[in-house]
Subunit: 189 residues, 2 copies
Amino acid sequence: MASFEEAETEETVTCLHMMFYHPFQQEKQVFRHLNFYKREQLRADEVAKFGRDGNICHYILVDARVSRIQFSLQLFRKLSGSELCFEIKNTSKRTKLTVNNLELGYLNKIDLPLKCMVGFGDYQILMHVQEGESVDFFETFLELSQVSLLQEQYLPSLQPISEHGISPLFYSQAINPVEKPVEMDENEL
Amino acid sequence: MASFEEAETEETVTCLHMMFYHPFQQEKQVFRHLNFYKREQLRADEVAKFGRDGNICHYILVDARVSRIQFSLQLFRKLSGSELCFEIKNTSKRTKLTVNNLELGYLNKIDLPLKCMVGFGDYQILMHVQEGESVDFFETFLELSQVSLLQEQYLPSLQPISEHGISPLFYSQAINPVEKPVEMDENEL
């Protein structure tokens, strides 16, 4: 084994933070198969799938209204540079997926903004990408919010979507701001 | 069971035709795990993976020089319309993937032109998409060529790549044209 002095310089790893909220998360326990507050590592060539079918999805949502595969995320590198980005794709025929205010239909996909609100049905997921160097792996870190994420405090720093000629759309559904949830780290804002 | 009169109107299915060539395909039998001349159906949300690792890849290349996953293809629908397209992604750290004349590095991806030449190492794959209506499935159809595909006859109808601001690059490596391979159907050209 290489000594500390000889070991390869440790790389930072791109981490996708996701804060989840569903209005009936207590009663329905829809998130009971998600591992919150634990970094999980995936290979860079893996597609992260979210949905009802545990045979296919790594991130399982226990809800009959959720599609077998609801949406998926893949890491890629832009042709124009070396930076790592995520792409999100709606794989549900029944439900639209919103990324900030943009609606994605079935099999539509888009580059994920560094910070954005993703929604489908009653589900709200606040995503933000912490950029890293490794091209071998990426990580996910899931948090749970006790309050709705449709609040002003989450909104000012949301990025517009301007990739591929789509006009910038800001997330603007500001609803009564309430207290900051206890799970939220100040560094996340 | 519904009668013929009552049955749903049959949909056409998007089919990705792929003609393979490797200079040592006879000696090395690198394609021995591919099912040639047989339509295979995949779910629209499946990622078609090509590479050495049979545990992950549906399309296996038996060659120590090929990466675990060499490249992958996914079906998607453009935001601007309802048409179905493929995206190709290079998942090999060692080898560049060329799509017509454009080089893709590791984790680079691009929309697949309707007709194009894909290459990596000594491998040549002439791909063309036969468009269909179904959003549930797509098909693949693999053929084997006995002669190199780097010939003039394949080139005139190749599409330039002009997606996302990349300047059009035509495939122009015309090498001694030879006779049309027997496997090639006239409709393919």
